[in-house]
Symmetry: C2
Subunit: 490 residues, 2 copies
């Protein structure tokens, strides 16, 4: 049931575990690479004059390479992955060549998606097959999109029928589902044996799968009957049967559950692993906290990036890719800002009469957006943890409107004072105050409604909400302010 | 070494573990509470006319309460905490009264900080002492700020001298340090005993501490010599000695490390627990993945909130607290927007000559801010994972400037077209294009420099950066655009 995992972290030879050390190593790698480039540069400059130059170059470069090789291979595979992610593509590929073959599999699995392709590019077929053939089925499934078809065919041949079935199963689940993050390495036992038998059975294994905090109790048809924590196994009387000691009260996951749901369950119940069962209650896989932590981190990273209208990007990727990542969002913002400007331009007469309105209107728009953003942030969070129900939605909306109204009233005094100071006109100041409160209420309404409606429609409440919010508070902010000014000041 | 933990999750009687069930339970609780309130309302309305009313009311309310009590107490303490967090204060306190006393400790430890106080308020001294006295020292330390002094005094009396020392130690570490999240429950063994002895020793415990994936090997002075994973313990020959099987290659934490650093290490090396040692290498505590997951989640939540200028807030807190949470940020934004408006107002003459500039200038400011925000988001992320070093900083800056310049050039064509359409003037369009590219470069510079400088000064690169960015792109956007217009168009 458990296999030999030559590429698992535990089996790696003694190396320091410390992210700070990895950062120091990165600085040293960069240093070496610079010297390396310098030598190349110098030698090339005087190449014509001296036929010994290539020789010297070769010696020096070999020395550099040896130092780099020793340095990199003394690191944990996760740290090697970190260093590769932190280097421009050419340096990355050069360092990758120096990594010991036995780390290839681990590093390939550790690096971010946007780096993996550039590593695989440099590997020949034999290396790739060697790196892949000892992976578990779920790991191969994660990699398969990046592998050349002939390598996939070759690796497949080496799998047992069971592993091949697992590979096909793992490939069938969406990336952001429980099926997409589960693995197949589990210890299974029957419920009628004694703990002594279980202990003897475990002793025959070479190692337990990573993150084994419990083993699964199944019947003949693989139906999950209970879980036996290692803790219970260790503290209980060895003569007790599994059935007496196992827990029948555990969380199970469905392979089609969203991975974010699994993450919420792991967080709330402090789990280390959880069984995945199919519709008929049969054990098909296991999710571990290591994958869940990655899900939590990736979701939080994605959110931060998508708020700025971007996707994950290789910070050393060609400029073209950077442009493709950022241009759409900026263009979208250009369109909404253009529309708002167009709305404002309908009041050209008013503004040409009272020019100071031009300088005040951006304050009205900006504060409405900021205030709405606060409301939206709170609502998105409350939705994410499932705290908003149909019963308290109305309470929440009321509270947001009241808070906004009061903050707006206070703020409008300051803004009105500023308007009075800059324009010397009390009517302008009054219009400013009214417009600001009005636009902040617009912001609060949009900030509440957009995420709630999106969530009701089954969509991610965060995505795109901020564009809509800015669009509303800009356009309506200009409209309210200049509209009021047209009515009362002209 | 391990104690009885009557409040630990494992010991809770059979209950379903599923966050979705908890959400359904929340809806049912809200439903019951509404009916409860309805009865109260109806009875009060006809109270004068009918002396049986209080009797009926009492009966109905008792029935409701019993249903609520059964429902709430069938949940996992973490789910009870979720429900309490999702209710307004009065309902929350009413439900809290119905929670079985033996869950009190667990729920108090699970709820968010902003809820805990409102729960403790309703408890009398004896209940509080009862709930607290079985907690571990590190758990009491987490709660102590919320406890009345006389309860603290009482609870302290019940501690052993060792526990009291631990409590004092735990209270001494900052909240966001490793010392602030570590616990003291660990299994320690000597390196010269056989695994058989370790197994026998474990069998004498009632349970292992939560999240025990390894036990710690120490010498007579408690100096950490190695770690023995349960996996190794279970698969190895029982006659082997601990020394032969233990790993000497493990991550150790310092109690003064930032908790975010520990989180990074757990993520990178897929840890479940890690030992904390003092300067002299002595084992003083342990950090587990459950606390680390909380740290990751809280940091990500805090970041999202602080980006909108807020702190964690009870969504049902009195309106006053909501105002206090939001007003400072909005006032700050009002100041920066006011300054930008003041800068623009220095060009009143120019704007009064060419009114259309008033409508275009907010586009220039907005796009500069959005573009700078993209750059800043990338840089903050790269800094957070330690990917920016003194050697590649310059490369990063260059790349950002080039990407921005190219995206800006493309975008400025669209913006120029719009300006030409709205103003009918080619010179205005050209000024618009130049100002937009210029302000986007301002955004890129600020977006790179502010986080880098803050991080160099040892400060959180994210905090406050966005205010500075908006301030720069607004004020300078107006200045560049109106300045160019004054020079070339007037």
């Amino acid at each position: 049931m458990t296999e030999d995992h030559p590429h698992e972290v535990e089996d790696a030879v003694a190396r320091r575990l410390d992210p700070e050390d990895a950062q120091l190593a990165l600085a040293r790698v960069q240093d070496q690479l610079r010297r390396h480039a310098l030598v190349e540069h110098l030698v090339h400059k005087q190449e014509d004059g001296d036929e010994r130059a290539p020789l010297i170059e070769g010696m020096l470069q070999r020395q550099h390479e040896n130092e780099l090789r020793a340095l990199v291979n003394s690191l944990h595979p996760a740290d090697i992955a970190f260093i590769l992610e932190s280097l421009p593509k050419e340096d990355r590929q050069m360092i990758w060549q120096l990594v010991r073959a036995e780390f290839d599999a681990d590093v390939l699995l550790e690096v971010a998606d946007w780096v993996r392709q550039s590593l695989i590019e440099t590997m020949d077929r034999a290396d790739l097959v060697a790196a892949t053939e000892n992976m578990d089925a779920d790991e191969i499934a994660d990699l398969i999109a990046n592998l050349p078809p002939d390598v996939v065919a070759e690796v497949q041949k080496g799998l047992t029928p069971k592993e091949r079935a697992q590979l096909i199963e793992a490939m069938g689940y969406p990336e952001d589902s429980v099926g997409g993050i589960m693995d197949f390495e589990m210890v299974r036992v029957r419920d009628d044996v004694s703990l002594e038998v279980v202990l003897r059975y475990l002793r025959r294994q070479e190692a337990l799968p990573d993150h084994t905090d419990q083993i699964f109790v199944v019947d003949r048809t693989d139906k999950l009957l209970g879980t036996l924590s290692l803790s219970a196994l260790l503290v209980s009387d060895p003569d007790a049967t599994v059935r007496d000691v196992m827990s029948t009260d555990y969380l199970t996951l469905d392979p089609m559950d969203a991975d974010a749901e699994a993450a919420q369950a792991f967080e709330r119940y402090d789990l280390v692993s959880a069984p995945v069962i199919d519709r008929r209650g049969r054990l098909i896989g296991r999710v571990t906290i290591a994958d869940v932590v990655d899900v939590i981190r990736e979701d939080s990273d994605e959110q931060a990036l998508s708020r700025a209208g971007m996707q994950e990007e290789d910070i050393f990727a060609p400029v073209v890719r950077g442009i493709r990542n950022r241009a759409p969002w900026l263009l979208l913002n250009l369109c909404t800002a253009g529309t708002a400007a167009f709305v404002a331009s309908r009041f050209e007469d008013t503004v040409s009469h009272i020019v100071v309105l031009a300088f005040l209107m951006s304050i009205v728009a900006g504060i409405g957006g900021n205030s709405g953003n606060q409301t939206m942030t709170l609502i998105i969070r409350a939705l994410a943890v499932g705290r908003v129900t149909s019963q308290n939605a109305w309470q929440l909306i009321k509270r947001e409107l009241v808070v906004t109204l009061l903050v707006g009233t206070m703020g409008s005094v300051a803004a009105g004072g500023f308007a009075w100071w800059i324009s010397g006109s009390v009517p302008v100041a009054l219009v400013m105050m009214a417009a600001m409160i009005g636009n902040m209420l617009v912001g609060a309404m949009v900030g509440v409604m957009v995420p709630m409606v999106r969530s009701r429609l089954g969509k991610d409440p965060a995505m795109g909400s901020s564009v809509l919010l800015t669009f509303a508070t800009d356009s309506l902010g200009f409209f309210i302010f200049l509209g009021l000014a047209t009515i009362f000041l002209i």
